[in-house]
Symmetry: C2
Subunit: 702 residues, 2 copies
Amino acid sequence: MLKDMLTPQTVAVVGASSKPGKVGHEILKNLIDGGFEGRIIPVNPKADEILGLPCTGNLTQVEGEVNLAVIAVPTAAVQPAVAEALKAGVKSIILITAGFKETGAEGAALEEEIVRMCSRVGVRIMGPNCLGLINTQHKLNASFASLMPDEGNISVISQSGALCTAILDWAAGRHLGLAKLISIGNKADLDEADFLTTLANDDSTKVIVGYLENITNGHEFIKRAESVASKKPVVIMKVGTSKAGEKAASSHTGSLAGADIAYGAAFKRAGVIRAEGFEEMFDIATAFAMQPLPKGDRVAVITNAGGPGIMAADAIENSGLEVATLGEEMSIELAKHLPAAASVGNPIDVLGDADPERYAMAVEAAQDDENVDAIIVILTPQAMTKAAETARAIASKARGDKPVLAVFMGGLDVIPGRDELVTAGLPDYSSPARAVSALKAMYNYAAWLERPARIVTRYPANKRRVERIITRHLRRDRLQIGEVAAKDIMRAYDFNVPNGSLATSANHAVEIAEEVGYPIAMKISSVDVLHKSDSGGVKLNLSSPTQVRDAFDLMMLRIPQRVPGARIDGAYIERMATRGREVIIGMSRDPQFGPMLMFGLGGIFVEVMKDVTFYLAPITADEAMQMLKSTRSYALLEGVRGEAGVDMDAIANGLQRISQLATDFPMIEELDINPFIVGAPGVDPVVADARITISKKEGKRG
Amino acid sequence: MLKDMLTPQTVAVVGASSKPGKVGHEILKNLIDGGFEGRIIPVNPKADEILGLPCTGNLTQVEGEVNLAVIAVPTAAVQPAVAEALKAGVKSIILITAGFKETGAEGAALEEEIVRMCSRVGVRIMGPNCLGLINTQHKLNASFASLMPDEGNISVISQSGALCTAILDWAAGRHLGLAKLISIGNKADLDEADFLTTLANDDSTKVIVGYLENITNGHEFIKRAESVASKKPVVIMKVGTSKAGEKAASSHTGSLAGADIAYGAAFKRAGVIRAEGFEEMFDIATAFAMQPLPKGDRVAVITNAGGPGIMAADAIENSGLEVATLGEEMSIELAKHLPAAASVGNPIDVLGDADPERYAMAVEAAQDDENVDAIIVILTPQAMTKAAETARAIASKARGDKPVLAVFMGGLDVIPGRDELVTAGLPDYSSPARAVSALKAMYNYAAWLERPARIVTRYPANKRRVERIITRHLRRDRLQIGEVAAKDIMRAYDFNVPNGSLATSANHAVEIAEEVGYPIAMKISSVDVLHKSDSGGVKLNLSSPTQVRDAFDLMMLRIPQRVPGARIDGAYIERMATRGREVIIGMSRDPQFGPMLMFGLGGIFVEVMKDVTFYLAPITADEAMQMLKSTRSYALLEGVRGEAGVDMDAIANGLQRISQLATDFPMIEELDINPFIVGAPGVDPVVADARITISKKEGKRG
């Protein structure tokens, strides 16, 4: 994929300039200095040659195929330049120039027009407003970043050109090689999903890191990213977590679901590892790039100083990994070779005077010990410490079957050691906590690779009935579906809803009560009454005709007083639900990723503690159960203090049905079943209240 | 304080050796190489001179006063060497040699003996098992770390010698100066509290950082640290947070209070800033060392790249600081000087081609804007970027009245810029998040400095009555004080406890019920029944003589069946408490820091959600209120969904009374009032149940 762009034989630089400092000059210079072995064609009508290369005034005059045109002319000249390139039959374009979508509507229109021109002839375009492209394996530096990194196996996709330069600078400082560096700019045509797929098939790329400010197409991203992540790790830093993007919502689910949560859910689904910052992104990436995945969570720590050993143990425990209990053989081996004062427990303290041999012996013993899944080796620069030799000794014992991560603490005497580590392919961290955090990411990724197949159950449902209700509401411009109709929808998806009907008079209410059986609950039915209880619109446990009649009349008196102008359909009469644990299950449709399901314990757990979990639909039984288990209040579902636990499968089942409903009907924007009353195992949970918001426009599908 | 040790005129090196690599050689060499301007006396009976200095065989033969003896002889020779030094009248001792307390009981005994010898003649001793001492202002390197740091204003206290070397190495790599480096080793005599106080009075020290594995004396530490922190910031990394230290507990409070929580509470009380890691510790310290405290929380971000600007804004928002809304004048100023494409919002994007002048202009505008309290300046290395010149330009505009923090991202081209920043006294961070985290620490410290005076209220209480109850229990070896007696103790401290008495027969129970008034609650009184409800030992809402009689007989039948062998005192009969919000207030005595108070909402909030806060006693009204406000469930106390709020002052008052009780009686180990039933403002809360554990030995006082 994108062969012409990533591994071109002939590259034209449109807007090549002889003036140093000009972007068109820098790109040409970088191509030459980078050692590109194909043909380079500077395009500039005003020059005969630039940097020793003969110039052409017009691309159409070039003989032979041009695989890639890098365009760096002023904004106003871009469209003609693209037209010329297309006419000349170039196979791909990198558009460096800025001044398009990022400047407003006019720029956006121009950008769209350029993409249209290209796609008409099947030419893919990267940018505009980007730094360019580097492919170290092809000796191609088609960017205006002057640093050409060494060859390596980490590829970078970045929406920020400036961050690319920072990454290049940082990699150069660490002597860390890169495979590809791709500055996607405005993503007018090619976006993160395209390059993810391309890099998935690139044998030189072992790990992909990405910096993203937004994602072009949520579903495409998830689909592609999941497929890529199944082949190689994808580590992404997504910025822009601020509150600005939050939308007004009419359900609990909607008000708790933000864009950042949606991105988190999407990454989780796709197996993408989320990094919180620039440094964490590379901490994780270098671990993946250099070391094998751990087969378990038991970590051995080797250190020449007690303090940093404690730091490592703290971090391991806090991360949820295990401080390994060493095997007997290993302990004997250590005791045999270490001075008496050394600790043969874990962390293994090889003492301050440890020489390279002692480190090598300890690493070897940890490699041999089947109770150890990963090894962290810490070095502090003490009087006798030989950092470089020790790095080589550690590397010589790393067999590539367990991850070995180094922590060389300091900034001067340890530098030669760090350089040796990079050369030997051992990742190095400035603190134990950072090494542990990278190891934890590896462990999680390994677990994700072993995940069960995603099989989404389909339940029988009466779709026609739901369709009718939604159509009826849309026709009347009623975008809020109140309790009565929402419960009908729930019935159609086989939820257990108490018997009940809408009563329009006191007598009618009594009639219905007699039919469904006492005790009954009475709830106002009005699209305008949002907080039913607070407005006096809910009466519970009514157990006689008189009570029902009194409650009805009182409600019809009070609601108009408390919510002036409210349109009242009547009062909904239903049999009181049996008691149980109240939970909330809901859905909110993210504009980018489609329906997100929510689970939480009801009432204050949602409203005050915000103890809820989200997952993207469609959801599997296993994922639904994970949603339950990920809440802090999970123990309450299992039963505490002698209370019986509830039927968790029944809740998971409810989440899967909502998932199906939301996937079937893209016009459903938000949905709350609150409370969903759950009983002991085997008891069918009850939808005690429900609320749905629809939209005239179909939202993103699941 | 410790003048002889920190600024000696004459230093003797006992165990000086001519053999490079030997500790006794390295120390001598470091003293000479460090440029120490006083007299240096090598002590070694087998040599005439070492490194050009005449040797003495015995310290007692030295003429003139010896301020400091650094002892680095083999462990077995330490005691005679110390004896000789004391005989020679040395004023202070640094004991480098290891092999004492850290090796076991024998070493510990020897260590204690040496301390006794010294204290008899008033000589203070640092170590043993330490790296030594560095005082850059005195050109004193009395350590075996070969790197002598530049002069600076950060002082380091470290319990790990290895971490000292890592810090020195790291500081050298960053060209960062230090004031003092103090390796406290086993802390046989001088400990962290002593050196904190010393450094508080050291004019060359602006910030103190500390690495601690434990604290010698909790109260002394808090007292001294609070006094020091009031003068200058103290940043401490405390390691060893693992679960190993958790103790068995018989109360909720006890089971939730761990050693790590106690350290957290102690640091909070003392105004000590806690760093989670090595890098964070210095991130924070350099900010304090180089910049003034912010006067508010509004941060301006200046950047030459959009992406890192978003990262900074995300971090600011997540930390609880504010992305400043720029003043109109500043916006006008920026618009006047920046290119049209630049963003004059905040973050202020000065664009990729920003030259030093443009940065200087933006920093100056932010300095002038009274809507800005702190400034973060981000630089990514782009084609036109001049890192060093930009660093100087930024520094030239930093006026020292608002903190300016730099983020130069990269690792090669930005290095000259970073060096300029250090020289100019601007702290520099590798990522926006790290700069924000340091700024947040400064903001919190500034707020702590402004804290109200700590005035602990004393309430009238009947101490004699409590004394009698505790004495009675101790005499009978009953360390668990059950409900009946615990409630008596609560009454003595003026808590509102429902009327009630212990009934020993069914008739007696009815008698009491008639007296206190129906409805009543009946609870088994037995030290052996821990979970009263689960064992059938609680009956509530009994409202007639028959009900009381039946309940009593049933209880006396069931308890012996369910808790075989339980010693039963009878059943406690009390008037049912009125309804209200159930909270838990409690105390657990930490072996290091004394009584820690706990607050949480009752039941599942404590048991499942673990939503509790801790604070060290004695507590002020303000601190008690902070405990309430720091729980996640605080909104429930304020009242949600139309429910009325509860009397928070009454809860705070309860916490203060417990604080007083725990301070008055050091034999109280643990205490739970659970539930403490709180009503509307003005209603006196009720102690519905209480439990106290005492100890034969007095614990740490508050």
